[in-house]
Symmetry: C2
Subunit: 513 residues, 2 copies
């Protein structure tokens, strides 16, 4: 072989993700149909939350072939919501162009890469060669597009466009397309996904019809919506040279003092003054005159100055202890639940909050291991559990014996991480990286609920011991009373009830505790 | 909040990976400097293999600041090779444009995403705001570029360009740039990476100078190069509608028979004929006249026809049993090594081969657990071990007691996977997905070497038991001989050596086995 020249080529982002669809979770037909449903449902939930309307989500998977019930086949997937709708001018790109979307801002949304919906459509196209149909309305009119993705150019190709009147002022989005999938292999995971999604989004109605026509309904238990996700400014700690360069380009600020207070999260005039002094940059300096070296100095100072306030978590939408408890109660009906919401923390300038719970007994199945339920920004994570930071915490960092907990007990642990940026390790959003700050909060949260369970278990053990003791008394005391009465030649036996009551340590009103 | 309109935007691929650098392994300063060195070294090795020249790779990390030795600081990284070089017209894009490169073909290379080198340069730019310097020659002249990446537009911006004569006919590439890193926290991993890279690339000279001026040399032990990676055609099983559509667009074939034999891996005229009959497509049909429905039918037939030959692994460059054994021998000097190269197999139409080894005793440290060394296409994988398919196999699928192996023994397992497409789960190339076909080969490979170790261990135990038995004989026989000689009143003791020899079960020539 003497070929020494390489040939070079540019590929489009659509082409990149087409070639590497494994990294987005579209690995095989079973996983692909699961991922497609999941990505569209998450976009729908985001759209409803943005619009502040309780979600009505309707999913339909229908079989396109009369083929066997097992193995890969062509399915038609339709997901419908009553969310904000997509403005008509953006519909083709929002559904037919990779790296085009509304998710590229600092706020808590389920989608983070702006990629999932398009990957689902792209996967449908490369397995069926058929267009996607998108129907959407933001209120005035209803628009219907048929389009395909030109993968090599990463551009939508509109095949047809229709406009309808909208007398009912319907708003929302319908996505309808065909894809190859292995529904029956993925079914258990899909149903589990919908069930857990319903638990953490209790204000949503979710309805699904499967290829056999079976209907699954998950009804809302409250109309109360969380606040819409709020966009925040970048926190100084998470800033790099590129961020500053872009801000310099767009800023209208005339001096560094207003530059700092305008473009950064939780930086007021006092802090800005102290910081600029620390960084050795004049407060009157014009931002647009910063030299490359000064930008680097500024960024290094941003990372090392210890006077900034921590990121504010008020922009995060948490589940809350009551909701988490109610969801677990409803689903598992356990004997005992403990819940702990951690204080807000931050990594790389992104605020996050961890919510933990533990459930014991009742409907919690015994599997020989602790069952782990993982959630991030109100979506369940079902795949690749062993790669997740929570799994690492449970299996390698906690000494369960310390809490009188053994793997053969019926125990489930719940971890919910909320953040403006969940540190996923893959584009497929399957598992969370072990960022030290996140790991620590999860560890402390699980320790706290484990401690509460431990108290419950030891208390219950005392009660049982006590009950056995009382059983012995109530079994033998009447006999002793009877014999002694006979021996004494009396006729009336003494009343032993006061005696029995006097040795009860735990009253009945405490037993249900 | 009543905001209901979403704002949409397009971001460039460079911007996407800038925002999501975690998924490419650039998570924090320590990990970033490790990833930067790794990506550049892997590109260099690929370039040398392509050129069929034994690699000479020189890495220099120097400190740019006089700051403390700990924590993040600015470093200058220079990686130099004697590979094929990059043609001058491609230099700006090859180093300053994401999704532009030479890796987008079906062949075994270390790089698979065409992304790593650019991520390193991009990371350097966003942490130091300084340009990268690239010097390269394919032979005639030497070109030197200084450039930065316009991240928002994903285009290189050339700051300066110089051309030099090349009297010595030097070829190769030098990449030189500054980046923020935490070298001393990453140092152990970096050295481990270089050491393991040297083991599986024994034809390479690798030299590294660290910020303290210490020199690390890994000298080649052979000049014998593997064959350059060969490009292969797509295998029918791995084909989708998009592949066919693209082929239809570029093909010069006039009929389906030649279309099949020209564009697919291991499809000859006989197989093509049988396949087209199976698919119900005429052999004379013009490829460019296939309707969308016919394309879908064709792809479905490609996946279900069982008459195709399996992918050919001759395009793969394996280590081979001798090399793997020699590498382990050199590094760990163990008491026992067993090696197993599996037969070629395939997943989704990509051929792959698994090579396994086990080492016991000698220099293998006792860690209380089996030590796992992972390699993919001749590069070591050091991070996220617990997410890798090999870890799963070792820790959940093998009953080690069955092989008389316990975790407290000094044991190391080696797994090398070669493929035209390694099924990585992240763009950071840290771990391999548990594709069932790959998992099965790894499982069988480790079982085979474990079986050999088990035989060795049981044999060694027998030898030791035997040795103890012989020790008893050789201790007491002379005394018995002496006493009996005295008792019998004889003067000369009998020669006991023949007797001792007669009870030896394992001869000395076998002891070294």
């Amino acid at each position: 072989m003497t070929e020494s020249k390489e040939s070079f080529a540019e590929i489009s982002p659509a082409d990149f993700f087409y070639r590497n669809r494994d990294i987005a979770g579209f690995t095989n037909p079973a996983r692909a149909i699961y991922a497609a449903i999941r990505e569209l449902v998450e976009n729908s939930l985001d759209a409803c939350e943005l619009y502040q309307v309780p979600p009505e989500i309707y999913i339909r998977v229908s079989s396109e072939s009369t083929a066997a019930k097992e193995g890969p086949a062509i399915y038609r997937l339709r997901v419908e919501d009553n969310g904000s709708g997509v403005p008509p001018e953006y519909i083709p790109s929002a559904f037919g162009q990779v790296l085009f979307g509304s998710k590229y801002r600092i706020r808590q949304t389920r989608g983070t890469f702006g990629l999932g919906g398009k990957m689902a459509i792209l996967y449908g196209q490369i397995t069926t060669h058929r267009p996607v149909r998108v129907i959407s309305s933001t209120g005035p009119r209803i628009y219907e597009y048929e389009l395909i993705i030109d993968i090599q150019r990463n551009r939508p190709v509109v095949l047809s466009k229709k406009v309808y009147g909208n007398g009912n002022k319907w708003h929302g989005t319908v996505v309808d397309f065909a894809l190859e999938g292995d529904y029956f292999r993925a079914m258990a995971k899909i149903l589990e996904y919908l069930k857990e999604t319903a638990i953490v989004n209790p204000y949503a109605n979710i309805m699904a019809v499967d290829p056999r026509g079976r209907l699954y309904r998950f009804d809302r238990v409250t109309e109360k919506m969380p606040l819409p996700p709020q966009e925040t400014l970048p926190h100084p700690y998470g800033t790099d040279v590129e961020t500053i360069r872009r801000l310099m380009y767009v800023t209208e600020c005339r001096d560094m003092l207003s530059f700092m207070t305008t473009h950064f999260h939780r930086v007021g005039r006092t802090i800005a003054r102290r910081f600029l002094e620390f960084a050795g940059i004049g407060i009157k300096k014009k931002p647009k005159t910063l030299t490359p070296n000064e930008i680097v100095k500024l960024v290094q100072a941003l990372k090392t100055f210890d006077g900034f306030l921590p990121p504010d978590a008020s922009c995060l939408s948490l589940l809350g202890e009551d909701l988490l408890r109610a969801g677990i109660e409803k689903e598992l009906k356990p004997e005992f639940i403990a819940v702990d919401q951690r204080k807000p923390s931050a990594y790389s300038g992104f605020p996050f909050v961890v919510e933990c719970a533990i459930a014991y007994g009742g409907g919690v199945p015994k599997t020989g291991d602790i069952i782990l339920y993982r959630f991030a920004n109100r979506i369940p994570l079902l795949y690749d559990e062993a790669s997740d930071v929570s799994w690492k915490v449970i299996h390698t960092m906690i000494n369960w014996r310390h809490y009188r907990i053994t793997p053969d007990m019926p125990i489930a642990v719940f971890v919910h991480v909320c953040s403006t940026k969940i540190p996923y390790k893959t584009v497929g959003k399957e598992f969370i990286a072990d960022r030290p700050e996140v790991e620590k909060e999860i560890l402390n949260g699980i320790r706290e609920v484990a401690r509460q369970l431990s108290i419950f278990l030891s208390r219950r053990e005392s009660i049982e011991r006590e009950k056995r003791r009382l059983d012995v008394f109530s079994k033998y005391l009447p006999k002793i009373a009877k014999f002694t009465t006979e021996l004494a030649g009396r006729e009336r036996e003494p009343d032993i009830q006061p005696l029995l009551r006097s040795i009860v340590k735990y009253g009945p009103e405490e037993e249900g505790d």
